[in-house]
């Protein structure tokens, strides 16, 4: 038992922090917001060169074979910089699903390109009626000879417009009725319509409709087996990654607020001279610390059995969600009027943390899942 980072992990943290600090300025964010996909192709290329896109991918398919801890180190730095490049959607979710559930030929075909930065993926799973229920999928896949025909609608597809291929979940409509499958669908497939929009806190997302979208049978990810366990595993790892990202945001907001309240004067003395504000900052830093512990736990349990993994991931998402809300709201509050404008970074972190809370379900959802996975009747 040892929770101190290895030398490699320390180096990774240093290089990620340095890159973000030097490169990922407010100016870059402003630039990225105007890009068609909401991020910078150049930065994405640098991610590839730094080996970050390959980091968690298996070594036999062009990856480095890192684990959730390493992804967490990167994501925390990304959170500090409010990075909008599609790391979560392409590497953690997209490539994660291919690695977890894909056939060997699919891994060999797709993963090296992801590692090189030449292929982007997105996961089209959530639906309007499902809310946070991962199991609720109404989109259907009807087998038609050598092809599948997909019909349905998806919401909140992260970076969908930037993806070359979308991994679309659907339930089988005829053979094997009701069982969940994942399909690789090219973004420009006939019958696929994207409603692309700028996303709260940076990056883009889209809603999409599938009207008789026809894909070859080989486009089914993996063999003809239920994809639910793979979806749960990969989403749990995404929760761990997002948790680390949230830690980065929370830490940065707390640091910024601390700096501001030390300098900003009111009634002739710094805001931080108020005991109420000092205690608020203390509670913020306690929340950051607990969030850090939970993100680490979710990463350490990312390869544990499904129940333990799920409890750690949902525990992290739930607790960090509450903590993130507190830290974000108090950061805005303590920045006063300037906190509620788009002129300071604080607002951007606030919005990105709201997006964190919303994605894959909020704190109550995850406490409930935690309780269910603990055998409590909920």
């Amino acid at each position: 038992m040892d929770l101190t980072p290895s030398d490699e992990q320390r180096l990774l943290r240093e290089s990620a922090d340095r890159f973000i600090h030097e490169t990922y300025t407010a100016k870059l964010r402003e630039h990225n917001a105007k890009e068609p996909f909401g991020f910078s192709e150049g930065i994405w290329k640098q991610f590839a060169e730094l080996g970050w896109l390959a980091l968690p991918l298996p070594e036999q398919h062009g990856g480095i074979g890192g684990g959730a801890i390493e992804v967490g180190i990167l994501m925390e730095a990304f959170g500090r910089g409010l990075v909008s490049e599609p790391y979560l959607s392409t590497v953690v979710l997209g490539a994660g699903l291919v690695a977890e559930h894909g056939r060997d030929d699919q891994k060999a075909a797709l993963l090296p390109s992801v590692a090189e930065g030449t292929l982007r993926l997105a996961f089209a799973h959530a639906e309007r009626a499902a809310r946070a229920d991962l199991a609720r999928v109404d989109t259907t896949a009807r087998q038609d000879g050598d092809a599948y025909v997909l019909d349905g609608a998806k919401v909140a597809v992260l970076d969908g417009a930037a993806a070359d291929q979308l991994i679309v979940s659907a339930r089988l409509a005829n053979n094997g009725s009701g069982s969940l499958r994942l399909f690789l669908v090219p973004r420009d497939a006939a019958g696929l319509t994207l409603a692309d929009y700028p996303r709260l806190g940076g990056g883009r997302a889209c809603n999409l409709t599938l009207q008789s979208v026809r894909v070859a049978a080989e486009a089914m990810l993996g063999g003809d087996t239920d994809a639910t366990p793979a979806v749960e595993a990969v989403v749990d790892r995404a929760l761990a990654a997002m948790s680390a990202e949230a830690v980065g945001m929370m830490q940065t907001l707390t640091d910024k607020t601390l700096d501001y309240t030390k300098v900003r004067k009111q009634f002739g003395r710094p805001l931080a001279a108020n005991q109420v504000i000092r205690h608020r900052l203390t509670d913020m830093s306690v929340q950051v610390d607990e969030a850090r512990s939970m993100a680490l736990r979710a990463a350490l349990k990312a390869d544990a059995d499904a129940a333990e993994r799920g409890r750690a991931a949902s525990g992290a998402k739930a607790k960090i969600g509450k903590g993130a809300r507190f830290v974000a709201e108090q950061s805005v509050q303590l920045h006063g009027g300037m906190g509620v404008t788009d002129e300071l970074d604080v607002g951007a972190y606030f919005k990105r943390l709201l997006a964190f809370e919303t994605l894959f379900g909020g704190s109550t959802h995850h406490y409930r899942r935690h309780a269910a996975l603990s055998g409590r009747p909920v």
């Binding site: 919401v155 700028p198 006063g336 009027g337 906190g339 606030f350 709201l354 919303t358």
Partner: protein, 398 residues
């Protein structure tokens, strides 16, 4: 004690309902339901204020001689409740509720004759110049300076958080006319024509993406000395009078209830996957509703005390604090109800000018910007921290 209305009150309630039915246009209603800011855009707020004025209801709180209605507190409560329920526009209060009472209380006869009718009719659109960068909730430290030069004042400095400065043709402002040992003593209350040379307006976009507030710069701006209200150096007193004029008259519960009902309607729709079936959402709806019930009862207790000529006491100073907290809880609940639709960012502003259908249901558009902008509720007009400082002094004698 009872909570029921008498016959006269019921008749008045009907009159208000009839008025609203006759004057609230669909455009106004849509603009209001898509309004993510505290106050309505002029295109909705001005015609509504004019309709009220035509009915003689342009400034209920003013003395009758100046155009007030002489309503009982119960009538005011009925009026506000019906307006909130119907979703009427919320004109900015800077004219009727803010500069109006100060002019009535301290203005010259000429100022009264000239300005008051123009406030009622919206011929003048007012903004407020109080806050400055660096002064925050500590107004007494303000630095914008007005120097007397013959029959004029020359104003230099800057004001910030100026709501609707870009729509206004008039501003009332607190400016420093002298340096005194007590900073408050050197402050005067002046009226400024926004078309005066030397005024520049810099928009400040809110966290929700709206253009509601501004920074206003004054560079040798000249105003006639007759635009001084009351005495030089008494501006601080007038500003405080204004706060007290407003205090204890807040009727916020009706608007909060309306906001909650809108959130409940979203929660019951298929667009949110019937969020109401999540017991957490259902129970938080009840928590918010009970909080609003408590606020309403407190408001009614204050109104009853006023109606009986009693001083409602310090209770009224608690109302702002709770109103802002409940507002944020309700707007947060709405955000949780719409789930991932909250990720959608609509750049068009004001939202009601949007023509093409957005990627999410149109009536959800204002939910997230409303929540984001609403973080200001616990900041502007004195942060909640300062409110608690004040309450601990007033209520607890600490």
């Amino acid at each position: 004690m009872d909570m029921t209305f008498g016959e006269a009150e019921l008749a008045f309630q009907q009159e208000v309902r009839d008025f609203i039915a006759a004057n609230l246009t669909p455009d106004m209603k849509r603009a209001e339901s898509l309004n993510a800011s505290v106050f309505s855009e002029p295109e909705a707020g001005v015609p509504w204020q004019r309709a009220l004025n035509a009915k003689g209801w342009g400034a209920p709180g003013w003395p009758v001689e100046y155009g007030g209605t002489g309503w009982t507190p119960a009538q005011r409560w009925i009026f506000e409740t019906e307006c909130a329920h119907a979703g009427v526009p919320s004109p900015t209060p800077m004219g009727v509720k803010m500069v109006g009472p100060v002019i009535i209380g301290f203005g010259s006869p000429e100022q009264k004759n000239y300005f008051l009718p123009r406030i009622l009719s919206c011929e003048d659109y007012w903004c407020q110049g109080y806050s400055e960068p660096g002064s925050g909730s500590d107004l007494s430290s303000l630095k914008t300076r007005a120097v007397r030069d013959g029959d004029e004042y020359v104003i230099n400095g800057t004001k910030i958080w100026t709501t609707h400065a870009h729509n206004a043709n008039m501003m009332f402002a607190l400016v420093r006319t002298s340096d005194e040992p007590r900073q408050q003593d050197g402050i005067s209350f002046v009226l400024i024509d926004m078309k005066s040379p030397g005024i520049t307006i810099r928009p400040i976009l809110t966290i929700g993406g709206d253009h509601e507030v501004n920074q206003v710069f004054f560079d040798d701006v000249r105003i006639p000395a007759s635009n001084l209200v009351g005495e030089e150096g008494k501006g601080w007193t007038y500003g405080k009078y204004l706060l007290e004029f407003e205090r204890g008259s807040g009727i916020a519960s009706a608007k909060l209830r309306k906001a909650l009902h809108r959130a409940a309607a979203f929660a019951e729709s298929d667009a949110t996957g019937r969020a109401i079936e999540d017991p957490d959402i259902a129970i938080r709806m009840s928590e918010a509703e009970v909080d609003i019930d408590a606020l309403e009862m407190t408001e009614l207790r204050v109104l009853s005390a006023l109606q009986n000529g009693q001083n409602p006491g310090a209770v009224s100073s608690i109302l702002k604090l709770r109103t802002s907290e409940i507002y944020q809880a309700v707007s947060r609940l709405a955000v949780d109800v719409i789930g991932t639709d909250g990720l959608y960012v609509e750049p068009t502003r004001p939202l009601h000018r949007l023509n093409a259908p957005p990627a999410i249901p149109e009536d959800e558009l204002a939910v997230m910007p409303t929540h984001l902008n609403g973080r200001a509720y616990t900041i502007f007009g004195g942060t909640s921290e300062i409110q608690r400082d004040i309450i601990s002094k007033l209520v607890l004698g600490l």
